[in-house]
Structures are given as C-alpha cells and as structure tokens.
C-alpha cells in the first residue's frame, strides 16, 4: 500500500491528504461507506466550514479581475454543490416519504428550495420568499442571517460584493435540475436588525413562465 501512495503523493508524508484509509474507520465508517439516508450525523462544524469557505473566497479572489468575475466564479462553485444537493434531497425524499414527488410547478419548487434545500445545506429554512412587484419573472428568497456570511466583513473597495453568490449558484443548479432555467444572483440588502440580510434574486427564463401559463 505504501509504495503506491508514495508514488501518488507529492511529499513523503501522506497524512496531510484525505485519502481513504482503513485505519481511521475504527469508530466511524468512512464517508464512502456511510448510509446516504442518515442525515443526522452528516453535519459539519460551522467554524470548519467558515474557514474552508474563507479560503475558497481568498483562492478565487486571487484569480479574478473584478467583483463581477468573483461573484460569477462563486456562483459556478455553488452550482456544482447545488446539482448534488438536488440529487441527494430527491434520493432521500424517495426513501423517507410514502409518496415522493418531483416538483413540476414553479411555486412549490421555490417553496422546496426555501425549506428543504436550505435545511439540507444550512440547517434552517430561509426567512422569506417574495415575488417582484415590477417584473413578473423575478422571485426573491431572503435569508436574514446567511450562515456563510456570518463572519465576513466586505471591505469598502469591494462594495456590492455578496459572497452569497455561492448560495445563488446552489439555487440556480436546483432550479435548472428541476427544469426551471433561471439566472440567479445574490444581493446584500441589510436592515438595522439584520446587518447581513441577503436577497437571492431569481430571474426565470421566458420558457418557464410560458409553460406555467399553459399548466394553469
């Protein structure tokens, strides 16, 4: 085993790398062997996630030219998470409920993102869903205290940046996966009680609205 590992790893100590090994599985089965339906023990610590997310933002920031580019990249990363989140929530729903269902109408799909997806990713439902007054194709999901922004202070020269673009990417992937293609962006909309309040703006494609009209 050692000879093949040495071949793979760039340094001689392989302890730094999270290669699956039998020795650590004494107390807990490793992640590949755990039951996918048991979500109770699959939580990760918030500080560990915060550190990881902070590094993700720093890593991304070094490789982009501006705020828009940074948000786009975070969105892309979130998209990769979102497509997996949708897959696993659908899989779990199939096992846990007697009548598992796939959302095909817009509002129930948005509600499912607001409650189920948010609970699966952040451990709590989002705080509100709103429909835009000005544009019929716009919906908003509002989180008063997003977990990923809890410890982030955006400096002045980055004004307008919202790291929740990552969440926006998750939402975009879930909507895409459910067949509601949309452009999703995140905006910082602070209030005096909730300084990190964030609005996830969903701009649906025209085809979605046309289909909704037919289904009515």
């Amino acid at each position: 085993m050692n000879s093949s590992l040495d071949h793979l790893s760039p340094t001689t100590s392989s302890a730094r790398f999270s290669l699956p090994s039998k020795s650590t599985s004494a107390s807990r089965p490793n992640i590949y062997e755990r039951n996918l339906n048991k979500s109770r023990l699959s939580e990760v610590s918030a500080p560990s996630f915060s550190f990881l997310f902070s590094e993700i933002v720093q890593y991304t920031q070094k490789r982009v030219s501006g705020i828009n580019d940074l948000e786009r990249r975070l969105n892309t990363l979130g998209y990769r998470v979102g497509s997996r989140v949708l897959e696993i929530t659908a899989y779990r729903a199939e096992f846990s409920s007697k009548a598992p269902k796939r959302e095909i109408r817009l509002l129930p799909a948005l509600m499912a993102i607001h409650t189920q997806v948010w609970r699966a990713v952040y451990g709590k439902p989002a705080d509100a869903i709103e429909k835009s007054v000005e544009n019929v194709d716009e919906y908003m999901i509002i989180d008063n205290d997003p977990l990923i922004e809890r410890h982030i202070s955006v400096p002045r020269d980055f004004a307008g940046l919202s790291c929740s673009s990552f969440s926006a990417g998750i939402v975009e992937a879930v909507l895409d996966g459910l067949g509601f293609p949309a452009r999703v962006t995140a905006h910082h909309t602070p209030t005096s009680t909730y300084p990190t309040r964030t609005t996830i703006l969903i701009k649906l494609e025209k085809s979605v609205l046309d289909r909704e009209d037919i289904l009515k």
Binding site: E55, Q61, S153, P155
Partner: protein
C-alpha cells in the same frame, strides 16, 4: 517616537474605580494590528506612540518569558500592574497577544473570561473573514461590532 516627554502615559484615577480602558492586539512579530479605546481615563496617544508601546510590551514579554527559573516553562508576563492601571496579556498558541488595559480593581476572573471571549470573537470575525490578511492590521466591521457587544 515623535515625542520624548517623560510624562506618565496613564492618568490617575481612583483605585476602586472599575473600567476596561482599551484593547490591543499584537501580532507575533510585535506589530500592533488592532487598537481601540473603550473608556476615558487613559492619555490620548498618537498612532505612532501606540505602535512603539506595543513593540516595547512585546519585547518585555519576550524577556519575562525567559526569566523563569524552570527553562521553557514560562509563557511570559500575564499581568503588569501599576497604581492606576493593569496590563493583562493573553498569549495565544500562535503568538498573537491580546492586551487588555483595565483599572486595578477589575477582578482577574472577569478579565480572563473577557480575554477568552475576545479571542474567540477574533477567531470568528477576523480569522474566518476572507478579506483579512494574517499579521496585518484588522479592519473588520463585524469584529468592531462584536467587541462593542462584549465590552460596551
């Protein structure tokens, strides 16, 4: 230092008076990365003077950590007490120092708890903030707000 006056840095105040005057955060190289006053009672210093004082304290701390008769066992000075003030130092494992300037009447247990809370706030609001560069001055609104909540 821009001035060479020998006047005491800290003004006189009554000994029973309890107050938390200010907080410094000193990085592992001895640079002052955060300085904030919470209560009146200290002389107003210029930014440069604070930097010099922090550097001096860093040096004193390095010396005190070598004064222990048991080699390698001392973490350095924890409290430096004067007639009108106390300097309380929390040294973290990474070499960052949290320095709390208080009145002498402030009980040690309160200070220890407070320093631990400040350290934990620092770990959250500063270290988990992607826009903070380690060892550089701390500019985090969230840290300022949280400290305000802790100390008031």
């Amino acid at each position: 230092m821009t001035t060479n006056s020998a006047t005491p840095v800290l003004k006189l105040s009554s000994t029973s008076f309890m107050a938390i005057f200010g907080l410094w955060v000193i990085n592992k190289a001895g640079g002052l990365v955060y300085q904030r006053n919470f209560a009146d009672g200290l002389a107003q210093l210029t930014a440069n003077e604070y930097l010099v004082l922090a550097g001096t304290l860093h040096g004193i701390h390095a010396i005190t950590s070598r004064l222990s008769p048991i080699p390698g066992q001392s973490s350095g000075a924890q409290v430096i007490e004067g007639e009108t003030f106390k300097i309380n130092v929390l040294l973290t494992l990474t070499g960052t120092k949290f320095v709390l300037l208080t009145s002498p009447a402030e009980p040690a247990s309160t200070i220890d708890t407070l320093l631990q809370k400040i350290y934990s706030t620092y770990a959250e609001k500063v270290m988990q903030n992607p826009f903070h560069t380690p060892e550089m001055p701390i500019r985090s609104e969230a840290f300022d707000v949280s400290l305000g909540g802790l100390i008031g």
